[in-house]
Amino acid sequence: MIDHRSWHWSLAILVFVVVCIAGIATGAIRVPVADVLRALLGSGDTSSIAIVRDLRLPRVVLAALIGAGLAMSGAALQGTLRNGLAEPYLLGVSGGAAVGAVVAFAFGISNSGWIALAAFAGAAVAVLLALLVARAAGRGGRGDPRTLLMAGVVIGAFANAVIMVSLANAPPNTIRGALWWMMGSAGDASWQTIGVLALSIVGGGAALIYLARDIDVLALGEEPAAALGVDVDRSARTIYLLSALLAAATVAAAGLVGFVGLIVPHIVRYAGLRRHRPLLFGSALIGATLVVAADLAARTLRPPAELPLGAVTAILGVPFFLAQLRKAA
């Protein structure tokens, strides 16, 4: 149903499963794969079970959800905005979330749940502002994608200014906390965070997949989309909000993880998926794989220190993206 090239899908799923098992098995204490499987099924020794179930599994699940959410958000935005450079943080999500988190840090809040909530609220406010600015600037309320892109950039620049002002005279601990938060990490994985995130990613992702045909047509332009029967303004607005929800949920749970939402849709398109329903499915799978792998690298490349996840995704992503560009040219 999804695509004729079913072996592509089988391979992608296999790679995802292998990367997840590697992610659970690898760390400061190595757990043999057989023990991983046993612990997942509820048998084996108690220390393996504790490591697998309480430490590694939540982290892998969190990373997978973040990757899936960002990649789907990016794929939907690139199609709807008709721009291959569009990415999930574009509509002011990253700036707004960072402002929310930094303000929380500045008030001395260190509970990760509250910081996540502050980040989500900041992202939501920024996206709504961007949409309102675009609406006010667009002629007669007809949202031109370029106006929306500009609005997102402006809101982002403003958010940066707010962050710099808040951090300029902040105590070192606040700065360090805020900086680490902005670099992104799956280290705070609790089943509670995962539950909230999973709900947003599955719900938002399913809604985008439902609207995927609209995105196919919106990618042709506003007038062709209207000519083919899409209620352009309503449909595009819904897609923007859903994409922003996905991005904001991931940012609240793990800070900024760059590049995933930008490159993964290109990789999947390059594999031959052009319709947005399979493109969204494929992006979720590849995005999840990429972030689980990146988190594994972040934990293990320079032990015992951890590298920032956002930096690793970018380091992994840049050469991949360059290779894609070369092939596409």
Partner: protein
């Protein structure tokens, strides 16, 4: 027995913040089985007409009816099932196979979860054959020449299986033979019973192929009628504000416009 496929009645459209309306009381009909052409200088309201038809611009006054149904009572999807529009502006961001592109014409006839049925595939195949693009099916949309691209766009519109086909400036950037063959295609589609509405600058071609020309000037219908009625020298000269003569083309006898150099009349 049946009324016109598309009926414009006293249509007024004004862009926000503009003093003068872009369309100012335009009325005319687009019947089935014929080519109706809309012509006029730049800024005369031609593209606004298409945007109003697509409901991308609200009407300040008047009404548009599709096959007797008021446009405002149709959903966007119902509109797309009745008339197929190939707008002037189209910026497909991501290339795809021509076959996939034409299949998008089935969008208004598919449920959100429905996969294309055998009937949809048949409709796509027929549309591609009709537009003469069936051999391009596996080519990429960004590898087509200008003429091929216009035909592929028409194939997509035909796949919609509406009763009207609306084309905004379909021959821009086309050379003479591609332009002629495109008009021949539109002519044969009209002969099949489609209502064809074409917005174009090519008055001489419209004179050869259209049964009715609607001449717009500053948002108003300056003239409407057969090419012979509408293409009068003095009228065109005043609308285009350029010296010209109208003669007969030696092959078909249709009116033909020849713009003059300024100095030849002064």
């Amino acid at each position: 027995m049946t009324g016109p496929m598309i009926h414009f009645e006293d249509v007024v459209v004004r862009y926000p913040g503009q003093k003068t309306p872009a369309l100012d009381g335009a009325s005319f009909d687009v019947p089935r089985g014929a080519i109706t052409a809309v012509a006029g200088p730049n800024g005369s309201g031609k593209s606004t007409l298409v945007r109003a038809l697509l409901r991308r611009q609200p009407l300040e006054r008047g009404r548009i009816a599709i096959d007797g149904n008021d446009l405002s009572h149709l959903t966007q999807r119902e509109l797309a099932q009745r008339i197929a529009v190939a707008p002037q502006r189209e910026e497909a961001a991501f290339p795809m196979k021509v076959g996939e592109y034409v299949e998008l014409g089935r969008f208004p006839r598919l449920g959100l979860w429905e996969s294309p049925s055998a009937e949809d595939e048949q409709a796509v195949k027929r549309a591609m054959l009709r537009a003469g693009v069936n051999e391009f099916i596996d080519r990429r949309t960004d590898e087509l020449s200008g003429g091929e691209w216009q035909r592929v766009r028409i194939a997509r519109a035909l796949a919609q299986q509406g009763n009207a086909l609306v084309l905004d400036e379909p021959t821009t950037f086309l050379d003479m033979s591609h332009e002629m063959s495109l008009f021949e295609l539109l002519d044969s589609l009209a002969n099949d019973g489609l209502a064809v509405l074409i917005v174009s600058h090519q008055l001489n071609l419209l004179a050869r192929f259209a049964s009715t020309i609607v001449l717009l000037d500053k948002g108003r219908v300056a003239a409407v009628g057969t090419p012979t009625d509408v293409m009068s020298g003095p009228l065109l000269e005043s609308i285009y504000a350029w010296p010209l003569v109208v003669t007969r083309d030696p092959a078909a006898g249709a009116p033909a416009l020849i713009p003059l150099r300024r100095r030849t009349v002064s």
